[in-house]
């Protein structure tokens, strides 16, 4: 069964069709890259999948549940329980240390556990930066804190909107290595990107244009 299924999903702003009858299936454990020019509807789609926005029409099935019909309150709960989010701008709370930022996600999910949060930071190579404030971390390090935070509650689906957009080459590679590690462990990944190199390392690339899917292909070069 697919973890995620979009059926005829449209999002219309006035007379602009940001998404136009999208049909898409993502299976558990898949690593999908979403590409497309600016304004093609990538972020709009991510927001809908991430339970932060609702489609104008169509169905979005996450784990068999149609999230396009849910109330804002239950969307918050679904997002908390099933989805990990990573943003282009790192979005950390600036008065909390790295480990506290990770623990905050645990707190809103269930119970904070500092040891586990430290292990999550160690996984992204930040064991020795745990007590630093965001302002004391580099951009790459901040993004890794965000990844640790997105992972801490074992989400079924990890959504990343331009995760490497603000990073240099070296940091981009660190992040991609972490993704590939997660993929091996069975995490389902949906990654929006402009960068063909980032798309290439994924299993499958979906390309959007004017709110429609214009191509959907498996990457030949994909290495397990």
């Amino acid at each position: 069964m697919s973890l995620l299924e979009l059926k005829d999903v449209s999002k219309i702003y006035g007379d602009l069709h940001a998404l136009d009858k999208i049909n898409l299936k993502v299976d558990t454990g898949e690593w999908v890259a979403i590409m497309g020019p600016s304004g093609s509807g990538k972020s709009t789609m991510m927001n809908i999948i991430g339970c932060m926005d609702k489609p104008t029409s169509g169905e979005v099935l996450l784990d068999g549940v149609d999230i396009s019909r849910e109330s804002a309150k239950s969307l918050t709960r679904i997002r908390r329980d099933k989805i990990g989010l990573i943003f282009q701008q790192f979005h950390l709370v600036n008065y909390l240390t790295a480990v506290e930022n990770v623990m905050m996600a645990q707190y809103y999910h269930s119970v904070p556990d500092e040891k586990e949060a430290l292990r999550a930071l160690a996984r992204v190579g930040l064991a020795d930066r745990a007590k630093h404030l965001p302002s004391q971390l580099s951009g790459g390090e901040q993004q890794r804190v965000c990844i640790a935070r997105a992972l801490i509650n074992y989400p079924e689906l990890l959504l990343a909107d331009e995760p490497t957009g603000n990073l240099d080459e070296a940091n981009e590679n660190v992040v991609l290595d972490i993704f590939s590690q997660l993929h091996k462990e069975g995490t389902t990944l949906v990654v929006v990107t402009h960068d063909p190199e980032v798309a290439e390392v994924a299993q499958r690339t979906v390309t959007l244009g004017h709110g429609k899917i214009i191509s959907d292909k498996l990457n030949e070069g994909f290495k397990e």
Partner: protein, 430 residues
């Protein structure tokens, strides 16, 4: 975790939090100061008015009747009618003894100076020491009743110094006309006897007292051979503004019912104090110095009204300031709040966090503000009234409620906006 988030917010954003706390403190201090001054201003003004002379005069019955019949100034017609000096202490034994702030007996006579100049000499108490039957002691006299006198030369006559029993104080006009200076000895010839007094001070009163000489009671009694006699007493008493009951009682106490009489007698109306003075001083008529007593109530009411208005303005002003800042500081955090929502924080968690922070800041601000306000009130007290403002406990709950209401009212619209906030908007920086 909640605690760690709060602690993080406070320890790592100390500057910002302190700013908010200080604004709240400023508002709270303004409120504290104004409220304290307002509650105390009545007493202060009353005290101030008391220091501006007597509000009750006591004269012998004979003098009073004739004065009223013929409306004559002075009292030649009543020559020979006197009050008894040995009864003066009884004034401090009446029911409202505590409200008697100061009093002094007066007797005067005409005398001539060595150069033949005629001058009116007034015998009185300056700072008379009295041991009361209650065991208390009291220093009273014209030094307290004539606070507006300006000692232009020398000093006040001091009854506690044995030498000053033969001293006197000379009015500025007399001193100028007769060329008298502090330290001089002057010879006074009264109708019955003469005496020599040392001038310890020259005063400028701005009224007819400048044409007189003030001397100890015994000296003037000697000049006119009236030992043990006084012709009037001035009393300065703290009084309750008159009401209808007091006005009726002032006309005729016997017209009251027993319980009304009780109420009247046990209230510090000027009429009941006069009545009680008459009870202890033989053949005396005590009457309020009308103008002062009446205008006193009016002045106090007006001052208090003014203070209430200013206080309300200050409260509204500080309230607006606080709520503005709180709103701004909550709105500033929309990014952080959007993120928390995206991570899965529900409305309750966000409201709880923001309000807890605001309440902590509010409490810190209110406490700082209260003590700062305490200071301001003292500055106002000392610069305006020359004495400390008494802190009223009642101000604490008022200020506390004010700060809570204002900060909460100020933050509720902001929190509502935050709750409506769409996380996608902030997260993608649109």
């Amino acid at each position: 975790m909640f605690f760690r988030m709060i602690r993080g917010a406070f320890t790592r954003q100390r500057g910002k939090m302190l700013m908010i706390a200080l604004t709240i403190a400023l508002g709270a201090s303004l409120a504290t100061a104004m409220l304290n001054v307002m509650f105390d201003v009545g007493d202060k003004v009353a005290q101030e008015l008391k220091t501006y002379g007597a509000n009750i005069t006591v004269v012998p019955k004979a003098a009073s009747v004739l004065d009223n019949l013929y409306e004559v100034e002075g009292g030649d017609a009543a020559e020979g009618a006197y009050l008894r000096e040995d009864e003066l202490g009884k004034i401090k034994t009446i029911f409202w003894a505590f409200n008697i702030v100061d009093y002094a007996p007066f007797i005067d006579t005409d005398a001539s100076l060595a150069d033949g100049r005629e001058v009116n000499v007034v015998g009185t108490w300056f700072n008379h020491y009295m041991a009361l039957p209650t065991g208390e002691t009291l220093n009273t006299g014209v030094q307290n009743l004539r606070t507006w006198w300006d000692i232009t030369e020398g000093r006040w006559l001091d009854e506690s110094q044995p030498d000053d029993a033969n001293a006197c104080m000379v009015g500025a006009s007399v001193a100028a006309a007769a060329g008298i200076r502090a330290g001089d000895s002057i010879r006074l010839q009264g109708p019955r006897a003469g005496t020599t007094l040392t001038v310890v001070g020259v005063y400028d009163s701005g009224d007819s007292a400048d044409d007189q000489i003030y001397a100890p009671l015994a000296q003037v009694q000697k000049l006119s051979n009236t030992a043990g006699c006084v012709s009037s007493i001035e009393v300065s008493a703290l009084t309750t503004p008159d009401n209808e009951l007091a006005l009726r009682a002032a006309k005729d106490p016997k017209s009251l019912s027993a319980s009304q009489y009780e109420t009247w007698y046990c209230t510090a109306y000027v009429s009941s104090i006069c009545f009680q003075i008459q009870e202890v001083i033989t053949d005396a008529v005590a009457s309020p110095v009308r103008q002062v007593a009446d205008s006193e109530g009016a002045i106090m009411e007006k001052t208090q009204l003014l203070m209430i208005l200013i206080t309300i303005l200050a409260l509204v002003g500080s309230g607006l300031g606080i709520s503005n800042l709180v709103t701004a500081s909550v709105m500033e955090r929309s990014n952080e709040i959007g993120l928390m929502k995206a991570i899965g924080a529900n409305d309750r968690a966000i409201t709880g966090l923001v309000l807890t922070e605001i309440v902590i800041v509010g409490i810190v601000g209110a406490v700082i503000g209260y003590f700062a306000g305490f200071g301001f009130a003292q500055i106002i007290g000392h610069s305006v009234f020359g004495s400390a403002i008494e802190m009223k406990a009642m101000v604490i709950p008022i200020v506390a409620v004010l700060v809570v209401v204002v900060t909460l009212v100020g933050s509720i619209p902001a929190v509502r906006t935050l709750l409506r906030l769409d996380p996608t908007v902030v997260l993608h920086g649109r």
